[in-house]
């Protein structure tokens, strides 16, 4: 299908600033979905609050635009109640890892089959350029006029430590790589995290003198390198890109299915008559 078949044209033009990286991520995500040939009815996109989170309004999937930081908690309810659905959860860096940090590590710990996409522009775009837990020290932000002193999370290490079974990183400069990684993440069974370094020229770029969108994209090209590449070997200060973890691990909804089977079997053995009464009267379309 054409990309336009995946968007709600009624709501365009979108609200992002010219040069914002978030549109590129939307594009990459839709291409990944298209190349995988997924049925639009089988996809639920859940997002929180932020410039990034607005992505869910533009896609022609089931979309749930929720509260700041809580997208993964909503997504967990959707997924566990209807495991056949594919859950895509794009989040801003503040959304995912400041206010939503607890939900993030717990979703990873459960290894529930959800694809989390962290649109990391290192700043709170929507509220006007305050620093985020991914800004790192020495950065300027509207709440850090003298520069930040907070350390940043390393999303990849954090995700691995928390139990995510697929962890990857790319940037908005490397769009084709993004499409590839997103395809793998979506197909992966379990909690997958894709960090995509994005640019907010309006706030981060301006405050930190990183120039316009094109210069910021150049910066992403210059400061990152592919996992296993010569460039990375020669210069370990570069930020590695690629797939860091891709393992098979028990998935939460599948494990819960086993619990249900055990629970049903035990009640059938213990209270056959009563259980029969219940079965007759209640629809259980959740299995």
């Amino acid at each position: 299908m054409a990309i336009k078949d995946y968007i709600r044209q009624r709501y365009f033009p979108q609200m992002w600033c010219p040069g914002c990286g978030h549109g590129t991520i939307l594009n990459a995500l839709l291409r990944a979905v298209d190349e995988l040939g997924l049925d639009k009815n089988s996809i639920v996109m859940t997002s929180g609050i932020g410039c990034s989170a607005r992505i869910s309004g533009y896609v022609d999937f089931h979309s749930l635009h929720t509260l700041h930081g809580r997208a993964l908690a909503f997504a967990t309810g959707v997924k566990l109640s209807k495991p056949e659905l594919k859950l895509l959860v794009p989040m801003g860096d503040g959304d995912a890892l400041a206010i939503g940090g607890n939900h993030f590590i717990h979703a990873a710990r459960r290894n529930i089959d959800i694809t989390a996409i962290i649109m990391n522009n290192r700043i709170y775009g929507m509220t006007g350029g305050q620093y985020s837990p991914l800004s790192g020290p020495g950065k300027k932000a509207s709440t850090a006029p003298y520069t930040t002193i907070d350390n940043q999370f390393d999303v990849v290490n954090l995700s691995i430590a928390a139990g995510a079974s697929f962890v990857a990183r790319s940037t908005t400069y490397h769009v084709l790589e993004c499409v590839d990684i997103l395809k793998r993440a979506i197909q992966h069974k379990g909690f997958s995290v894709v960090e995509i370094l994005s640019q907010c020229p309006t706030h981060y770029g301006r405050k930190n003198k990183e120039g316009d969108a094109v210069q910021m994209l150049e910066f992403q090209k210059k400061t990152t390198a592919k996992l296993g590449s010569k460039a990375l070997e020669n210069d370990p200060t570069l930020i590695p890109r690629g797939v860091f973890v891709d393992i098979d691990a028990p998935e939460y909804c599948e494990e819960y299915d086993k619990i249900m089977k055990r629970a049903m079997k035990e009640t059938l053995q213990k209270e056959p008559l009563k259980n029969f009464g219940n079965q007759a009267n209640q629809t259980c379309d959740m299995a």
């Binding site: 709600r8 009624r10 709501y11 639009k40 009815n41 089988s42 639920v44 859940t46 869910s56 309004g57 022609d60 999937f61 089931h62 979309s63 749930l64 635009h65 929720t66 509260l67 809580r70 908690a73 909503f74 997504a75 967990t76 309810g77 959707v78 997924k79 566990l80 109640s81 209807k82 056949e84 659905l85 607890n102 939900h103 717990h106 819960y256 619990i259 249900m260 055990r262 629970a263 049903m264 035990e266 009640t267 008559l273 009563k274 259980n275 009464g277 219940n278 079965q279 009267n281 209640q282 629809t283 259980c284 379309d285 959740m286 299995a287």
Partner: protein
């Protein structure tokens, strides 16, 4: 002897008589109503609800999940409701505070769900194992912004069961969160419960859209009767759900007309149906000169006292509220019209009393019999005040 031969029917009947805690009665009510998803976080005195459902839900093919906190629990049930399931969470004061932002989301996005608050002493961590009824206003105004809410309560386990079924029904009917305000005494006390046969109590199922695949579906366009048929996530209609003000497609809008009309709709759908939502019981109320208004466990003491006074020929009766929000103004005004005095019996600083004062013809005849020391108010506590009002010495 032949009477004692157990037919299948008899076995089921005895199975249906239980000696349970109020929290268990709530669980039985939820199962009867068709709950199939629960998310929660342990907190006294509500924890038994989560524990029991962790066992009972998977037995019938439903899902239970213990989330990382109460915020996440509230969010998860909203997500599960959108896939077409009947959902509930349960908590107490501190956890209820954490749920407020997402509760407002459920009001705004019109998501059917049931939220149980088994009240304990507060504010803050307060007194986890003791009783209070201090969350009346938190249930009403805990989440920010103008909105309407339904909150129900009960004073005995049979009623806990039935009001829980009712809560699910109202949540579906009005596409709204419904709060069940129980309290520690009700939650933990043991009492007899008879579970009605399936079909005895009405069950309201999800109203789903009849709009066909490929035809434009408007998730937020109310029908003439104000109801909004839903479409399950994963179904044929793909639409947007948001906590922002939104148009009939669910897409964010800041058009003043859209904003005004949506807010009116959210409030009117409940407030204009207050008469249909109002639940109450009368005890010895016929011709009462002294009307006690109470709810939850404190109503038990009020009823006890009224019975005792009637036996002595005093005209004392009880109006037991089973719905607190929307506040049953018309009912209270009517039942108090001829009273010499109205005594609101509750375990807080007069949260319902303020509502009663606001709606009766003569607020100066409204008094408060309360306890706020985390102990159940006794009939004697109420009697002391009653006798003072009657001018009869304590």
């Amino acid at each position: 002897m032949t009477d004692n031969i157990k037919t299948d029917e008899n076995v089921i009947k005895t199975n249906n008589i239980k000696f349970v805690q109020g929290n268990e009665a709530c669980v039985e009510g939820a199962l009867y109503a068709g709950i199939n998803f629960f998310a929660g976080y342990p907190i006294t005195p509500s924890t038994e609800i989560a524990e029991l459902l962790s066992k009972r839900l998977p037995e019938k093919g439903g899902k239970f999940i213990q989330m990382e906190d109460e915020i996440a629990s509230m969010c998860a049930i909203i997500g599960a409701s959108l896939t077409g399931h009947k959902v509930m969470t349960a908590t107490s004061g501190p956890g209820f505070s954490l749920k407020q932002e997402a509760l407002g989301y459920a009001c705004m996005a019109e998501i059917p769900c049931v939220v149980v608050d088994v009240q304990r002493g507060g504010p803050s961590t307060g007194n986890p194992t003791h009783v209070s009824q201090g969350d009346i206003y938190q249930a009403r105004w805990g989440t920010h912004g103008d909105h309407a809410i339904i909150a129900l309560t009960a004073s005995n386990h049979q009623d806990v069961f039935e009001i829980t079924v009712d809560a699910f029904n109202l949540a579906e009917t009005y596409r709204t969160p419904v709060i069940l305000l129980f309290d520690e005494v009700i939650g933990h006390m043991r009492e007899k419960l008879v579970i009605p046969e399936q079909g005895k109590l009405p069950i309201v199922d999800r109203l789903r859209t009849s709009v066909k695949k490929g035809v434009d579906y408007h998730p937020y366009l109310p029908r003439e009767d104000g109801r909004l048929p839903m479409s399950d996530f994963g179904g044929e209609h793909r639409y947007n759900v948001t906590g922002l003000f939104h148009d009939m497609w669910g897409f964010p809008s800041n058009n003043p007309k859209v904003v005004r009309e949506l807010l009116h709709h959210l409030i009117d759908k409940i407030d204009n149906n207050a008469h249909a939502i109002t639940r109450y019981k009368e005890h010895y109320l016929e011709g009462a000169e002294y009307v006690l208004i109470s709810y939850g466990s404190s109503a038990r003491s009020a009823i006890h006292l009224a019975k005792n006074r009637r036996e002595r020929g005093e005209k004392v009766g009880v109006l037991e509220l089973q719905s607190i929000w929307p506040f049953p103004e018309a009912l209270v005004r009517e039942k108090c019209a001829n009273a010499k005095a109205v005594i609101v019996v509750e375990m807080n600083m007069g949260q319902v009393m303020k509502e009663v004062k606001a709606c009766v013809d003569n607020p100066s005849k409204v008094f408060l019999a309360n306890r706020i020391d985390n102990k159940l108010i006794t009939p004697t506590n109420i009697k002391t005040l009653l006798r003072m009002i009657q001018g009869r010495g304590v």
